[in-house]
Symmetry: C2
């Protein structure tokens, strides 16, 4: 859910996409995103689409046909990055881990062919499995040693757990609006570091999608904006307000709140004999995966939670379909009362028939 002031911002009267007041909104978003991503990157903006659009912007701008991409796949979104890279004509090599596990950085090092791999794709927080990939700064350093760029999917980490783009030296990081930031979906944060910017400026051909062309987008989002496309105006009002709330709370306080509510949830689920799916050291704070109760109709339980209790939890998909539930405690929704309401409702379900 989004905070009330964020939803209210959506209903403000529209402005033109080059109206000086609207350009002020974009400038605010740029500045606030630098705080959220903990970066000084000049090329920090929001792509006019939902999270998948930011993935497209990252890969579509950096890949030229024939480029070698190392895709680290340990869940659905890692696999999606591999698929996308192939669509842009990359020569994609994959390394894989079981869904529910994280990579050991040494596995990535072993697959990095120095001077050959241009781009490494990696998911920081796998929404399909509930795994947080550790060791990002080490992985970034080994990518750079091998002459490769690191693209990091932070869709479910930004605003929930630390994403320190500059300190980790990540080349491209992107996210979505509706998870840790708690704005309505429709504008998706992305930040481009100096190495990636250089690679992008050295392209031999323009990226296929004009709509996602970062050289043009950074002009619209820059100091002397010119028309490129119509931005989603209302969604920008809401994103600014949501990011303002992130800044107001403070990143450390926000991360501590997410952690405390996740710990409360984990303890409660274990108390209901629902085993957590991911080992503690790789467990993702804002999205918890838990094994579904054996012999029960898990989809029916989720349906009743939604209809009778107004609580939405997600099912598993791919190899985890039917096997796990995915429970989000992100941004505005990471609250003690939400965790308690879910545990109470699940407690009733676990005792009842289904």
């Amino acid at each position: 859910m989004a905070p009330p002031s964020v939803l209210e911002a959506m209903a403000a009267p529209l402005l033109g996409y080059l109206d000086p007041d609207f350009l002020g909104v974009l400038a605010d978003i740029r500045g606030l995103l630098r705080i959220a991503f903990q970066t000084e990157n000049e090329w920090t903006l929001a792509v006019s689409g939902t999270g998948t659009a930011a993935m497209e912007a990252a890969l579509g701008n950096l890949i030229e046909p024939g480029d070698r991409v190392l895709a680290c796949v340990h869940g659905y979104f890692g696999a999606r990055l591999a698929d996308m890279a192939a669509r842009y004509g990359a020569d994609v090599h994959e390394i894989q881990r079981e869904w529910g596990e994280a990579f050991d950085p040494e596995e990535i090092r072993a697959a990095l062919r120095p001077g050959i791999v241009k781009l490494v794709t990696l998911v920081h927080a796998e929404t399909s499995t509930g795994v947080l990939q550790p060791g990002i700064p080490e992985i970034a350093a080994m990518c750079h040693e091998a002459g490769a760029l690191l693209v990091l999917d932070c869709v479910t980490s930004l605003g929930c757990v630390p994403v320190t783009v500059d300190a980790w030296d990540v080349d491209v990081a992107y996210s979505a609006a509706q998870k840790g930031i708690s704005a309505p979906p429709g504008l998706s944060p992305i930040t481009i570091g100096p190495r990636a910017r250089k690679a992008l400026e050295a392209r031999r051909s323009p990226p296929p999608a004009f709509y996602f062309d970062l050289r043009l987008l950074t002009t619209y989002w820059g100091d002397t904006p010119a028309y490129h496309h119509t931005a989603p105006i209302s969604t920008a009002f809401a994103l600014r307000e949501a990011l303002r709330l992130v800044k107001e709370e403070g990143l450390d306080a926000r991360f501590a709140r997410h952690r405390a509510n996740a710990e409360l949830l984990w303890k409660g689920l274990e108390g209901l004999d629902l085993p957590l799916f991911v080992t503690r050291k790789n467990r993702l704070v804002p999205l918890t995966t838990v094994q579904t109760p054996p012999g029960r109709d898990e989809a029916a339980i989720r349906r009743r939670l939604l209809v009778d209790h107004n609580i939405e939890i997600a099912g598993g998909f791919g190899p985890l379909a039917g096997k796990v539930w995915r429970i989000g405690t992100m941004g505005h929704s990471s609250r003690v009362e939400n965790v308690e309401a879910l545990l109470k409702a699940l407690g009733v379900e676990m005792r009842g028939p289904a």
Copy 2:
């Protein structure tokens, strides 16, 4: 501007992208878009981005590298379509007309190499010049005779003037939300006819952008939806409400209202000695271009209209920079009081110094 009930819809609490209530919203949008486009096309939906995203979806899905595209360019958006087609690897041939003119269908026929051209791109309502392209059914018929598909940009025509996709036999038509439909930008209507669908299903390779892949999008928007991407939820609430208002007013009444307000504007501008830029027979009802007054600082006048009178009119761009103003009377903004307020404010400006 958007109607109050549309802005209110933006502030409704969020739903999940697979929540049955939200899937009902998508189904409503599908049905209402068929009314707006006057089509029975099953593949009728809204792309999760602003108008340029719908252009990408149209071209990115239909073009494979090496395909011959005939781009009809008589303004900025025609040129953008040619640029986009080239980015997707098309062999683009252009025919051109001066900005401010329309094509004679015979010019298009002469450029159509039967059996060679796969796709013709044409702008129905050129937002950069204020021209409405006449003769669409004739042009569609000659495209089909030559074995080509017709992609029609209806960004500034849908909801303002007739766009009868089935009667005209247009293969792909797309639009934006924030013009004739008067919803906030962020979801963009597109409809795909049977010939285009067949071409799309016969592709040898997937389109570069997963985000715009219509075979996948039509599954999410279909009768048994599966996850593809997170839709812009709030924007969908607003688009549904805006389309409901279009249906409630009725297309004929809506077109008559646009026409009457445009006639009022045209008469008033001529009364102020501001000559209209486009000849009457090609003049676009929802967007009027008028020559700027000679010897005056046209940008200063526009700035004062915005700051002192809260009226935004647009300048010209490309070859028309400084030469024309572009005045929108679209959707909810096509109202007698708006036209009168602008004429009054312009009257003051035309008498005053600058």
